[in-house]
């Protein structure tokens, strides 16, 4: 298909788990292997316990305490993140790859204004002064279609609705200008009309910036309508991966088939 230089993220035989009290590793990920091509909108889909979120957190190096990887590689633009110099990896986070999370209201710091937080990220990644950073932050809020951005800059997260907060998170992610943006259940818990708006926005931002996106979700409907490449996970394993059309129209894996029919609520027997 494509040359390997076109691959943004390449995860190979990744395994890991939580350490229990006897220092035994309880496996959570087993031999997870998939790759994401540059410019696509990819998705990792699975139910709870599938390991989809922990896979994404592993890529960012933000796994919770107690979790450790035991084997495998995570190559970002050809370089293995796991063996890379930590200083260089830190530089990549935000700029190279970034992530937004499910509950956007909780993902914003409650004691700072939304504008301060976006401007802070702008200043970390772009070499500009305080005033210019604020101006760019306001511009970003406008780009994610937050009405009255100047007023919204001065507000605190609790004054934002869930949908608005998720837009602010996207603005913050854009401030990093990442090449790969991972979105962990970005619309879960939002109303369907808001969800559709946010997904439309993500598609537009992606088209404008050329970044690669990877959507982590449990909702096959969202995947079918928004993505062109899918990885299906279940209990820490990749069941199937490939193009969206192929997997949804002609799934080969029995779990994938079941998941599709459950999502459509049609009987299979």
């Amino acid at each position: 298909m494509n040359a390997s230089s076109d691959v943004v993220l390449d995860v190979k035989r990744l395994s890991g788990g939580f350490e229990d009290t006897d220092h035994q590793i309880l496996p959570v990920l087993t031999d997870v292997t998939f790759s994401i091509r540059r410019g696509v909108s990819a998705a990792i889909v699975g139910e709870s316990g599938s390991g989809k979120s922990i896979t994404a957190l592993s890529v960012l190096g933000l796994t919770p305490a107690g979790f450790s990887l035991t084997a495998g590689q995570i190559r970002f633009e050809g370089e293995d993140l796991l063996t890379m110099d930590p200083a260089r990896r830190r530089k990549l986070s935000g700029r190279g790859l970034s992530m937004v999370f499910q509950d956007a209201r909780a993902a914003l710091n409650p004691v700072f204004t939304v504008g301060w937080q976006i401007a802070d990220v702008v200043r970390i990644h772009q070499d500009v002064g305080r005033r210019e950073a604020r101006r760019r932050a306001e511009e970003l809020l406008d780009r994610v279609r937050v009405p009255e951005p100047a007023r919204r800059m001065k507000q605190y997260p609790h004054e934002f609705s869930g949908g608005m907060a998720q837009r602010a998170m996207l603005a913050m992610a854009l401030a990093c200008q990442p090449r790969l943006l991972i979105l962990d259940e970005p619309t879960t818990g939002l109303d369907v009309t808001i969800q559709a708006d946010i997904l439309d926005l993500i598609a537009d931002l992606k088209a404008a910036s050329g970044m690669t996106t990877c959507l982590i979700t449990h909702d096959l409907g969202v995947v079918a309508e928004n993505c062109d490449q899918v990885v299906v996970m279940q209990q820490g394993c990749v069941r199937e991966s490939g193009s969206c059309a192929q997997i949804i129209n002609t799934p080969t894996d029995p779990y994938t088939k079941q998941l599709i029919s459950d999502s459509r609520l049609v009987e299979t027997s």
Partner: protein, 331 residues
């Protein structure tokens, strides 16, 4: 309407619920449910759909009098419960039960499955402890929970098992109608399918009526006979499920249905877009609630509140503008 010989199991008449908000300045009024009426007959499933703030959960809470409605009436098998003193409500709860959204918080974390099911049997029936034990096992079997789970605490059960236990608890007193408040919202899709099938089977066997409250349009389409679409405390459209899903009339219904993702690959369907987000239900203005967001709104919409008008048969919608457009033969 033709009067049926038996009264409906649930008859909601002009149900209204306001909350007073204290704040700086004058006190404001939040209208959560505004003059809502509908009926449910034996063995029927009626779905209440809407987004957050639509008041659908408040309706369930008013029907059970967990929250006291401001005005209106609720009749369960013909008996009005609104003026009933609260100690008499226990009789109503023998016919009317509820399954809650979040099985994690609707089960007492310190009570085993047995204790959870024993409680309604002890309080509602005069069964001996031996009979109750037998009934508990029957109930567990009815919801496909195996016997060995009987001494588990909620946290030792999976999400799906907890929701089955919640359903078993509602079934314990053999109710005529069960209110289901987002019963599948917190479940994985595979478990969701199982719970839906279980609910369908129980209805078939026992003729229970359901009021199914959900924002999951896929589930609603599958399980319900009739659907009521709510927006900011009012019903904007109601009708037979397939009719509403295939021929939505109200712009809000159209927007809602077109936003729901389907598991189909290909171009995204053309969305009916509404401007902005749902406004706050505080101090609602006169006129149609969708004014300001609606693509077809006229000046008249801002002044007169539309009432439900017949579309076809029992399909009704609260939008004269959209109805007029329907009358015009399509081009």
């Amino acid at each position: 309407m033709i009067t049926t010989p038996t009264p409906p199991v649930l008859d909601i008449q002009h149900l209204h619920k306001e909350f007073r908000l204290r704040g700086t300045g004058r006190d404001r009024v939040l209208t959560a449910v505004d003059e809502v009426s509908f009926t449910i007959h034996a063995g029927q499933t009626v779905a209440l759909v809407g987004e957050s703030g639509s008041g659908k959960s408040t309706i369930a809470r008013c029907i059970t009098r967990i929250t006291e409605p401001t005005s209106g009436d609720v009749l369960v098998e013909g008996r009005s419960i609104i003026k009933m003193p609260s100690r008499k409500l226990i009789d109503i709860y023998r016919s009317l039960q509820m399954v809650f959204q979040d099985p994690n918080s609707s089960l007492d974390p310190r009570k085993t499955a047995r204790a959870t099911l024993d409680e309604p049997l002890r309080l509602h029936t005069s069964l001996t402890s031996h009979q109750r034990e037998q009934r508990i096992r029957e109930l567990l079997a009815e919801v496909d929970l195996s016997d060995h789970l009987i001494d588990r605490l909620p946290r030792q059960l999976s999400g799906g098992q907890r929701q089955r236990l919640g359903i078993a608890r509602a079934m314990a007193v053999d109710p005529r109608i069960i209110l289901l408040d987002e019963p599948t919202a917190s479940l994985d899709v595979s478990v969701r399918g199982q719970i839906i099938r279980l609910l369908e089977r129980l209805q078939e066997n026992k003729g229970i009526a359901y009021l199914f409250i959900s924002h999951d349009l896929g589930v609603v389409r599958r399980i319900s006979d009739r659907v009521l679409v709510m927006y900011l405390g009012t019903i904007v459209e109601e009708g037979p499920t397939e009719e509403v899903f295939t021929h939505p009339v109200h712009p809000y219904t159209q927007s809602l249905l077109s936003a729901a993702p389907l598991v189909e690959v290909g171009r995204r369907r053309e969305r009916v877009r509404l401007a902005g987000e749902i406004p706050s239900p505080v101090d609602l203005p006169a006129g149609c609630r969708l004014v300001g967001r609606c693509p077809v709104a006229t000046t008249a919409c801002a002044t007169t509140e539309p009432s439900l008008l017949n579309v076809t048969g029992s399909h009704r919608a609260a939008c004269p503008v959209a109805l007029d457009m329907q009358q015009v033969p399509s081009t």
